[in-house]
Amino acid sequence: MAATLLSLRDVVVRYGDTIALQIAALDLHSGEILAIIGPNGSGKSTLLRVMGLLQRPSDGTVMFRGENAFDGNLLRLRRRCATVFQEPLLLNATVYENAVLGLKLRGLSNHEIARRLDPWLERLGIAHLRQRFARSLSGGEAQRTSLVRALVLEPEILLLDEPFAALDPTSREALLRDFQAILNDCKITAVFVTHDRNEAFGLAGRIAVLHHGRMAQIGAREDVFHRPESEIVADIVGIENRLPGVVEDCDGRYVIIRVNQIWLRVAGRLTPGIRVIVCLRPESLMISRDNFRASDYNRLTGTIKGVLAGLMHQRITLECNGLPLVALIERQPCVNLKLAEREMVTITFSSSAAHIIIAH
């Protein structure tokens, strides 16, 4: 178990009468990468500011390596962190002057600054822009400058608030690749806020889901994305098919769940009679035209309500016995099937693809 770098206990942030953030406990371990996801206004940025020691919580404690951050020498601890925001927020100066700003603020010598800065400028591919003025940079170049400004500080915690969200897709993907390589090579402890599920899943080891300022779930990325604990989390991580049903039978390995007049067979162990929600990722649904019956379970007949073309996937909305379903089918198979609205199709899924949430 890695050392705990930062731990939040009973942290509350209030804006007037409204509670923006309420976190009972959150620990950040040395070397881990934590993503914070959640809808707009769920308190993600507030949490990041508290973790970056930029905002004093209204209540509760924030411990940085066992030291109470907001009671002690805040500046000294804050200087062991570095925050990057969605906008590059550069000073009206050159790339070089912006990149060295944090080092200058810490009173480092010019020699030391040059020694530390050059490798990072190279690494982020902006060494040739040293003398360029910040305002003449493209969005990607500016955000790279902002990242260098933070990385060169070699912070114990790197905090990022939607760092790639404002970039165009090409520079975003390029920067994402570079950033991922840096995270892997440098064993950086990082916390980042994102709206992008792919980004969260791709970069982070652990994911925290915020909803209305509270921690809806925190855990390993596979758990959060494939085994959400609540319907809210299932929704936030993109599980669009959530079918309410009742457990009818259980043989120890599989449960039979009735959803409307459909019977589903799902891996798991549950007592018959309890109410559940069956979660199915849109990409785990398969669509076919044949009516071959291999099994009575997990085999639905439905009508196509809509086909939305996408670059990688086609998004098919369906209706099965009054149940709305969404399926994401890879583009080519979808084109081969020539799926069109109002057609009847067979929908199948594997019994291990479904995840069950106990309904409350």
Partner: protein, 237 residues
């Protein structure tokens, strides 16, 4: 027309002939208004920064007062300063009426709201997230303030020059509290009024031209700074 042409020639002779009195009046104007501008900066800049960055009760009222102060009629300022500094007034014991010090006081009252208002505007034009970002890379509170001042330096320079331009060209208050006493409180504006009244148009024009030259130089500098900050607008059709 001949009067003007004649006046201009005479003015040139006075200016370039280094007429003692004209130059001493100019120098006095610069001293008094320069001193007033300096004091206005000491008061107006911290006030403007505080109004832009801090949240405190009565802030809205203070901002409204400052905005009103930016357009304060100099004669009104002159009237009130005169009342206060009058021999029998509340501050009469200071014996400041009809001294350069009185003029400086009046000009500070005129200039500091201009400086405060423009300082506030230049700070409010900064991205509020910039402050958070600077803290986020380890700036202390004093470092943060210094970096923000540096970032707003061009509009701040505009505040300085607008304050100076406001007081160097002001006549009402200087006349009322200074008294336009020769070799003591006579400045470019009050001298221009006097010489015009006496019909000495050549000297009046000379003084006017010097004043015009000064304010033009200030405004030229101000405009260049503002143009440098101007973002390029697309051609609108």
């Amino acid at each position: 027309m001949e009067l003007i042409w004649h006046g201009v020639l005479k003015a040139a002779e006075l200016v370039f002939g280094l007429d003692g009195e004209v130059w001493s009046i100019t120098w006095r104007s610069l001293q008094i208004s320069g001193c007033a501008t300096f004091i206005s900066l000491l008061i107006g800049m911290p006030l403007g920064i505080a109004l832009a960055l801090a949240r405190f009760p009565g802030r809205a009222t203070t901002v409204a007062l400052i905005n009103t102060g930016m357009g304060l009629p100099p004669v009104v300022v002159g009237l009130f300063i005169s009342i206060f500094l009058w021999r029998s007034g509340p501050l009469g014991f200071l014996e400041l009426i009809y001294t350069p010090a009185a003029m400086v006081i009046a000009q500070v009252i005129i200039a500091f709201p201009i400086v405060a208002g423009l300082t506030m505007a230049s700070f409010q034009a900064l991205d509020p997230k910039l402050a958070l970002q600077l803290l986020g890379i380890g700036a202390s509170k004093p470092q943060l303030l210094w970096l923000l001042v540096r970032e707003a330096k061009l509009p701040l320079l505009a505040a300085v020059m607008a304050g100076f331009g406001g007081v160097i060209s002001e006549v009402g208050a200087s006349m009322m509290v200074g008294g336009n006493i020769r070799n003591q409180t006579r400045v470019l504006t009050t001298a221009t009024v006097l010489e015009t009244g006496k019909g000495n148009f050549e000297i009046a024009i000379a003084l006017g031209l010097i004043l015009l030259g000064l304010t033009f130089a200030i405004n030229l500098l101000l405009t260049r700074i503002q143009q440098r900050e101007q973002l390029r607008w697309p051609r609108l059709s």
